[in-house]
Symmetry: C2
Subunit: 429 residues, 2 copies
């Protein structure tokens, strides 16, 4: 049985339409390697946004846009006073990224709205698909920019003059986009919701290894990102005796080794990555005077993240191979736990399809992190082959994509009805 073929009492999604729309969007910004480059608010991203809006308007859905460039597709419920049920994701990609990261959640969300429309099914609440602007943070920093602005974690005034990687300012890019998708109604920041549920590929190897089609995401692990700068002394590689050197590279290695120990990288909950290192002056025959490197440290346990992160910051107190060191904090994001009633709703949605599932935390950051600061939030994962993402080789079996979409449809309908488990947060409960 695949979604769209079953005889059930619920709304069935249309797998063919889901795949065809994914293919349509994969052609916008496609790369020779089979991936896609669709940086936030670029010509390609604006084209993809316009396409999704066109599909939505063709079905009679209302489309809105906020000042941060987030788009909202609304299928009206019969009680327009009720808090909406939301889903969402993003259309922007990494450079030469994959064809599923972000776009899958958008297309699947639209598919749920359209399937409801096809069958004339009504909901009590509005069902809203959010298309968050600039999740990847490649052209403009930071990551999850649109949803952070929407959730009030950042202020647009602080970011607007930022110059993107192509020399265009954020405010100009947002204005260009506004022209392109003109005529939409305005949407407010931080509007409350009954539930936010985001569907995404796992971008990790856990579901594939467990051979399970659905992941119940328990939360998003915390992230600390640091930039360490080690300062020594430039000197001639041929003339300077080894013992008199202040080699910033050796200082960086000694420090790196200590940081791994402080992070306790053997702890299976911990992720510790050095993804960028730069050396100055960077000549093969010159001892480096400065080496800068990033550390990305993640853990779902708030206490471990806080205590070990603090220990890393304190490493600046001493010399490393005779070199001084400074550290700056790039990102500090606390772990988030998702709402129990949403996880339970997703479990029920999977059970209804006979799909086995697994609870797991999200290793990556998503827009759901920001939604969780406003209201009850959850996520669904589908497997990623080889755990590969941010890469043209990103892949999920089409059938698994369809199952994920069907589970999203079931869960969103389930979340539409009043539930007792969330009395404090949902005014309609």
């Amino acid at each position: 049985m695949v979604p769209g073929t079953a005889e059930g009492d619920g709304v069935r999604i249309h797998a063919g339409r889901l795949h065809s729309r994914l293919q349509d969007l994969s052609r916008i910004g496609s790369t020779p390697e089979g991936g896609v480059t669709r940086l936030a608010l670029s010509i390609e991203d604006r084209q993809a946004r316009k396409q999704v809006v066109a599909w939505a308007l063709a079905r009679g859905f209302e489309c809105r846009r906020d000042l941060a460039g987030n788009l909202f597709v609304v299928r009206a419920g019969h009680d327009r006073e009720a808090l909406p049920v939301m889903t969402g994701s993003h259309l922007d990609t990494q450079r030469n990224g994959g064809n599923l990261d972000g776009v899958y959640g958008v297309v699947a969300g639209l598919e749920v709205l359209e399937s409801l429309e096809d069958e004339g099914a009504s909901t009590s609440s509005d069902l809203v698909l959010a298309i968050w602007n600039n999740e990847e943070g490649v052209r403009f920093a930071p990551v999850t920019m649109g949803s952070s602005l929407w959730a009030g974690k950042l202020r647009l005034a602080d970011l607007a003059t930022q110059i993107g990687s192509d020399g265009v300012s954020l405010e100009t890019a947002i204005a260009e986009d506004e022209e392109e998708v003109s005529g939409l109604g305005a949407a407010a920041f931080a509007s409350p919701f009954r539930a936010y549920l985001e569907l995404h590929i796992e971008q990790g190897p856990v579901l594939e290894a467990a051979n399970l089609p659905i992941g119940i995401v328990t939360g998003i692990q915390g992230v600390r990102q640091f930039l360490f700068k080690v300062s020594g002394e430039a000197a001639h590689a041929g003339t300077t005796p080894m013992v008199t050197r202040k080699d910033a590279f050796l200082g960086a290695l000694e420090l790196h080794s200590r940081l791994r120990a402080l992070a306790i990288v053997d702890d299976p909950e911990v992720r510790f990555t050095v993804g960028r290192m730069s050396m100055n002056p960077g000549a093969p025959n010159t001892i480096p005077s400065e080496v800068a490197f990033t550390v990305d440290f993640r853990c779902p346990d708030a206490t471990k993240l806080r205590e070990r992160g603090a220990a890393m910051l304190n490493a600046a107190d001493r010399l490393w191979a005779g070199c001084s060191m400074t550290v700056s904090n790039l990102i500090h994001s606390e772990p988030v736990s998702f709402a129990d009633f949403i996880m339970e709703s997703v479990r029920g949605a999977a059970r209804a399809e006979g799909l086995p599932f697994l609870d797991l935390p999200s290793g990556a950051t998503h827009d759901a992190l920001n939604a969780a600061s406003i209201g009850p939030t959850g996520m669904i994962f589908v497997p990623s082959r080889g755990g590969v993402s941010h890469n043209p080789k990103e892949w999920t079996d089409p059938e698994q994509l369809a199952w994920g979409c069907q589970v999203l449809a079931n869960a969103l309908r389930d979340l539409d009805y009043e539930r007792g488990s969330d009395g404090n947060r949902s005014p309609t409960a």
Copy 2:
């Protein structure tokens, strides 16, 4: 007593003129930090070359130029059939380099020619000052390009279409220079000489630490430069468990540690430097798929250089933290020993001034390395404060600069007379 003030029977150099010319040249390409940027055949370098030629022509010296852009200032001897005695260095610099590296040897060589002229002193051989093109290898690769072409180690046809760091080809740059210093006679490649003696700052800490003004350079240590590329797999820093990663950075660290062991960095003769490292894709939240780094390995002992270098090349045979590795050979330059009779001549020249001296190998590569492949060669070092070079802080006391120049003058005159110690290499001996 300082040079230029003594009553001696030899020619005395003029310290004031030496310093004033160094100051004149330090203004061509000067940087805010007090250094100088005069990349090979750039507007600044061509201006400096033109200035030195103008000084030489004003004294009636003959100036010649070869196809590689090397310049030769000739003060004629009374026996024009005799092999010339040569000195030389370079006017080009590193980016924001110092005010002595190279230019000191050129200005001191000119000062010797002018002092002889001032006093009407005659020599039997022509005395030739070579101004080697592109010693630093910053704008065009490789280092010591001009003297390598002159010595026949490289062919101009293989380099001419090379595009420099500013987008201009080497052949265009050489043509631009030819226009600028037009009207000079042609010079042949690889013309034989009686002796080549180059004066240079040490660019290392040895003479300063020993508190000695003159270094008798015994040779130039050998250099091997490698580029190692470690290939793993890019993956998401937040989602990928530590144990399943193929992290090219960890592979590079494991490899680096092994390479240091193979080089035996505790051996006081050894220099081992990682001066450049690049990481791909270079995002803080992505495990690097490829890390490339250079190793600069030097040793005056040919056997150690060969055997340990070969062991490093063989390290490609295995995996490093699960990552594959390739290595390429950037530079392989055997150690060179300088001619005994030239070293002895320099020792005598220093003794005549009452200057104590020390024998030491050169850690850095110089144009003298290429001259040594053609004929008997030597070098003189003066101290470098703090051993600092390739840096605006490069500094030698003016008095020490003057002493170095006086020793060069004494030695060049000494080398002008027939000597028995070099019967095989010098036809006039």
